[in-house]
Every structure is written in C-alpha cells, then in structure tokens.
C-alpha cells in the first residue's frame, strides 16, 4: 500500500509540471499583458502612444517580463520550491495571502454543496432503482434532468430578483456570506447569519449536481440488485428492506466514492459564476478577476494549487475505493 502511494505521488510530479508549463505558456503567448493594463485611458479616450510605450517598457522591466519565457518560468519554479508564489501584479500583495483569504470561503461552499448533493441524490437514486421504469422512476428522472438543465446564472438571477430583491419577496440576503458587522454578534447568531446568506448560493450550486449522482447511484443499484448475493440474502429470509440496506446499498456505494475526486475540480470551476453573481470573495471570483487583470502570479498560483488539490483528491478517492471495496488491492502491480 505504501509503495503504491509513493508511486502515485511520484507520478504526480510530471503531471504537475505539465499543468504549470501549459498554463504558463498559454497566458504568456496570448496577446495582452499586465504592462498594458497600466496604461490608462484619460478623458476622451486619450491614449498617448509615447507615454504608453514608456509605461509598458518600465512595467515590463519591473516585473521581469522582458526576459525569455523559460527564464521567467524557471524563476517562478525556483520560488515555488520554497512555497513562494510571488507578488500579485494587481496590488503587490503576496499571492499566498490573497489565496488564504479566498480559499476557506470556497471550501466552505463546496464542501456543503458536495454533502448536500450526496445526501439528497443517493437515496433518490436507490429508490428509483427499486422500481425501475415506474412512473416514479420516470418522474424523478425528468425532474432531475430539468434541474440539471437549468443554467445556474439564470436561476441565480431569478432567485435574486424574486426572493431577495427589493421589489418582490425579500427573504434572503442578496450578496456576500455574512452581513456587515455580523462578526460582533454572538456565535449562534453569526452562524445563522452566515447560513442565511448561504441559502441561495448553495441552492444554485447543488441543484444541478443531483441528476448525475442520482442516475449514477440508480444504475449502480440496478446492477447490484440482480447479483447472486442479493438473491442469497433474500433466500436467507431477510426482509426486503434489510436486503436493500445491508447488501444493496453498501455495494452500490463503492463506485460513488471514486466520483468524489472528479467532483472537486468541477465545483471549483462551477462556482465562478455563482461567486461572481452573489459577490462571494472565493477562489472562483479571485481567478476570474486575475484573468481580467492579467495578474499572472495569481493565475499561476491558483492553477498550481487547484491542480495539486485535484491530484490529491483523485488519489484519495482511489485509496478510499480500496477501503470500501475489499476486492480491490493496491500493491506492486
């Protein structure tokens, strides 16, 4: 087992290099650079060409953007070894500090989202599998697909206008993750304040995820239901409920574990729009803004961190897989 983990960790290194090199060259080779962002348009759209040339040249020198690409990449890598992500071009703050602020928020959002998705969709999937091709099966499938198909920004805008805006119902807050000044409240009120703020964003992040997981759970369950050990269990005289719960459920859970690994990157990307709409200062919004500002160090750091996280979560779910399913053994293969 340890040998397997070590091997997997070693294999991550080339992947990690691949990701960073790719990101680095994509953002550098494409037109537009941070030096140009320094050029301001004064009134009337005045852009002084001489002035601009000078600004661009000075800024490029300051950031080392005038050096060859491989030198820039090498320098970035060298700093990374000491876990130094450099300084943001946008505000000269250490990139790591910006990420430290955004990370917990996104993790809070995504962990809650994943939990809710699993808690709701697995039972739905299993129960639909018990009565396949019934109206209940069709109905829930249709409902889940409809949910999956609703564009989240559209739903977010609708919810915001009708449930949180000033004109219709005003039940929920419209932005952020807590009220201003909520920090001074007693902890239980603070928690309820945050929870109240999270309702709409979490709704928008979760509803689309039900379909995939529920359908997946359904097909797993269908597969399990017809296997011999289930028949044996029934033959032993166990009640149908006990058969389903003890044998069916456990065995159908196995492939679901492996999904966790691929769910994380999807959610990190998917929360860009929601974080933007609800003004939540998480990783998605940070990434989006860094792209717009051509803030190379922040983009690179975000990609690197997200890549490592994803690699680790894939590894973790593979290992979990082995724990859940004793038939799988990772050894020296």
């Amino acid at each position: 087992m340890l040998g397997y983990v070590a091997k997997r960790l070693l294999l991550m290194i080339p992947t990690f290099f691949g990701i960073t090199v790719l990101t680095f060259f994509i953002i550098k080779l494409a037109p537009g650079d941070p030096a140009l962002m320094r050029v301001q348009m004064q009134g009337m759209g005045k852009v002084d060409a001489q002035m601009a040339a000078q600004i661009v040249e000075e800024t490029r020198k300051l950031y080392g953007l005038d050096q060859p690409l491989y030198v820039q990449y090498g320098k970035w890598m060298k700093r990374l070894v000491t876990l130094d992500f450099g300084e943001s071009y946008a505000d000269h703050r250490p990139v790591i500090e910006k990420i430290k602020e955004a990370f917990p928020i996104t993790i809070l959002l995504n962990v809650l989202t994943i939990i809710i998705i699993y808690v709701i969709s697995i039972p739905v999937g299993i129960f639909t599998a018990l009565k396949p091709q019934s109206w209940w099966d069709y109905g829930s499938a249709l409902l889940l697909f409809i949910l999956y198909s609703l564009p989240s920004f559209w739903v977010a805008a609708l919810l915001m206008t009708y449930f949180a805006g000033g004109d219709y119902l005003n039940l929920f807050p419209i932005m952020g993750i807590s009220s201003f000044g909520a920090e001074s409240l007693p902890w239980y009120e603070y928690v309820s304040n945050v929870a109240w703020h999270l309702v709409l964003p979490i709704v928008c992040l979760t509803y689309g995820g039900f379909a995939f997981l529920a359908r997946f759970a359904r097909s797993n369950m269908l597969e399990v239901i017809h296997q011999d050990f289930m028949r044996t269990a029934r033959a032993k005289g166990l009640s149908e409920w006990a058969v389903i719960m003890r044998h069916g459920f456990r065995n159908s859970l196995v492939p679901l574990v492996s999904l966790m690994g691929s769910l994380l990157p999807a959610l990190l990307g998917g929360s860009v729009i929601i974080e933007q709409i609800f003004s939540i200062p998480g990783m998605g919004r940070l990434g989006f803004q860094s792209i717009l500002q051509r803030d190379y160090p922040t983009i690179m750091a975000l990609t690197a961190i997200e890549a490592v996280l994803t690699l680790l979560s894939i590894l973790l779910s593979d290992l979990l897989y082995a724990v859940v399913d004793p038939r799988i053994r990772y050894g020296d293969d």
Binding site: T15, I19, I27, L142, Y148, P151, A266, I299
Partner: protein, 305 residues
C-alpha cells in the same frame, strides 16, 4: 458485451430497445424539430415574402416576418403581442426571430465542439488502448493534466486571451473536454484488444489503422455516442455561461445564451426576455439528456430489466 463484431442488426436491436422508451423517442422528435428550425431559420424568420404570385398582388409572408437583426427603437421592450409573438428586446428586435436564429448558434456550438473533442478523444484513446506501453503512459499523463484543470476556468483563460468569437468558443470547448471520451475509448480498446476477432485480424496481417478503425472502433462507438449526446447538452450550457460572463459570441450574432445574458438588466420589467431563452436552453438540454439516457439504456444490456 457482444464478443463478435457488431452487425447492422445490433443497431436495429438498439433502436428497438430505444423505441420502448417513449420519453426518449419524443426527445428525438424534438431534436429533429430543432434541427429543422436551425436549418430553415432564413425562411422561418425573414421580412421578405417567401413567395409571391405572378402579379405580386398576393404574397406569402414568413411565419415570423422579422429578421433577427432588424431593429425598431419605437417598439422597444414590447411584451408578447399579435405582431411579436414573444415580444421584443430593448432595441425593438423580434425575440421570436432571434430565438429561431439563436438555435443555429447553440446547436452549432454543441455539435462542432463535441465533434472536435470526440475526434480527439477517439484518436488518443484508441492509440493508448491499442498500443499500450509508453504511448499509453503519455496519453494517460495528458488526460490527467487536462482533468486537473478546472475546465471552466481554463476555458475562461483561453477565451480571455484569444478573444471571444463563435469559432474560438467551439474550438476551446473542443480542446478542453476530450478526456472523458479518451478514457472511455481507451477502456473499450483494452477490452477489445484481447478478443478473438481482433487477434484474428492482426494475425491475418491487417494494418494497424485497419484494425483500429475497421475492426475495433465500430465496437467501441456505442458508448461514445451516448457520451457525445450528453456532451452537446453540456456545451450549450457552457456557451450560455460564457455569454453571461461577457465572453460569449459577438453582440450582432443572436445565440440563446447571449439573448439571456442581455436580458439580465431588464429582468423586472421584461419577463419574456428572460423566460423565453432560459426556457429554450433548459428544455433543449433536458431533451438531449433524456435522449442520451435512453440511448445508454438501449445500448447497455446490463441495465435491461
């Protein structure tokens, strides 16, 4: 899994199986309708008469007698009425005409983007599965690299740098989404490679490309088709999301996503502007998913009950 090369009767069987699912069958009818609408858009929504009799005294008007770009600022933000079935937008353009033309973009994005990534995925997956060894290692590493990018973030980065255009959107979605298909095909090929008919073909001296494309690929195609159907739905959703963030198609081209994102600021005074494209997007995506699901049930005999 069938162990012999799948004959045309296999597809017949799949079709028979598929027909049993009424919802999925109607979904297919709906997709056919969308395709007809997309192809026929220039004749469905135009301000020119479709046909006139010899004297010109009688003309046949198009069902939607407006072009998608024809504006009339005096008819700005009109709710649905006798002339404009689905109302008008802030420039007084007919929403129905824009929706009809928008279906072209949305479908094109879906089909072309998926076409690109299916091609890439099949090629890489087949190579990895067939040759194994270092080829497999390289492809697997590439797949891992792509998986680790949050796809939506990667698409945004690329679009920000390349500039938004309908072609860039198609190409970028295509270039970033091929991993699923590649893994699928690789898996199928690993299974198929040891089967007798493949080994026989190799023993008979068939070239690699012949073995891959004539003997193995047709057998691996069914799951790819299922995945591609879901992919079209996902691509349409991505396009609308990009439009919302301002990275969508140029403003003079109507796409469902761009119509929807332009309606944001009028949400509380023009419900039809939000409702129509939003409903069109989610109905289409729902239908694609139902068709994909139906296809999977029909293809995968394990799930037959």
């Amino acid at each position: 899994m069938a162990t012999i090369k799948k004959s045309p009767s296999y597809w017949k069987m799949v079709w028979r199986q598929y027909r049993r699912n009424h919802l999925a069958t109607w979904g297919l009818v709906f997709i056919a309708f969308l395709i007809v609408m997309a192809l026929g858009a220039p004749w469905i929504a135009t301000n020119k008469p479709l046909w006139c009799n010899a004297s010109g005294s009688y003309c046949l008007k198009a069902p939607i007698p407006y072009t998608p770009t024809q504006y009339n600022l005096d008819e700005s933000l009109m709710p649905p009425n006798r002339h404009h079935w689905l109302g008008t937008d802030e420039q007084g353009r007919d929403v129905a005409a824009r929706m009809v033309f928008g279906s072209r973009i949305s479908l094109a994005v879906g089909v072309v983007a998926v076409g690109i990534y299916v091609a890439i995925g099949i090629l890489l997956g087949a190579l990895a599965g067939y040759y194994g060894g270092w080829v497999d290692q390289v492809v697997s590493r590439a797949i891992e690299i792509m998986i680790c990018f949050p796809t939506f973030f990667l698409i945004l980065t690329l679009l920000a740098f390349l500039g938004p255009s309908i072609y860039n959107i198609m190409i970028i979605i295509g270039l970033t989404s091929w991993t699923g298909i590649a893994r699928l095909v690789r898996g199928e090929f690993l299974k198929l490679k040891n089967q007798d008919f493949v080994q026989a073909a190799i023993a008979l001296g068939a070239s690699d490309s012949r073995v891959i494309f004539r003997h193995m690929l047709p057998n691996a195609l069914a799951p790819v088709l299922v995945s591609a159907t879901f992919g079209v739905a996902a691509a349409i959703l991505i396009e609308s999301g990009l439009s919302f963030l301002g990275f969508g198609v140029p403003p003079h081209i109507p796409s469902w996503g761009s119509i929807l994102s332009q309606s944001q600021e009028f949400m509380d005074i023009a419900w039809w502007l939000t409702l129509v494209p939003g409903a069109a997007i989610f109905i289409t995506i729902t239908v694609y998913n139902i068709v994909g699901e139906g296809l999977r049930d029909a293809i995968d005999p394990r799930l037959k009950v």
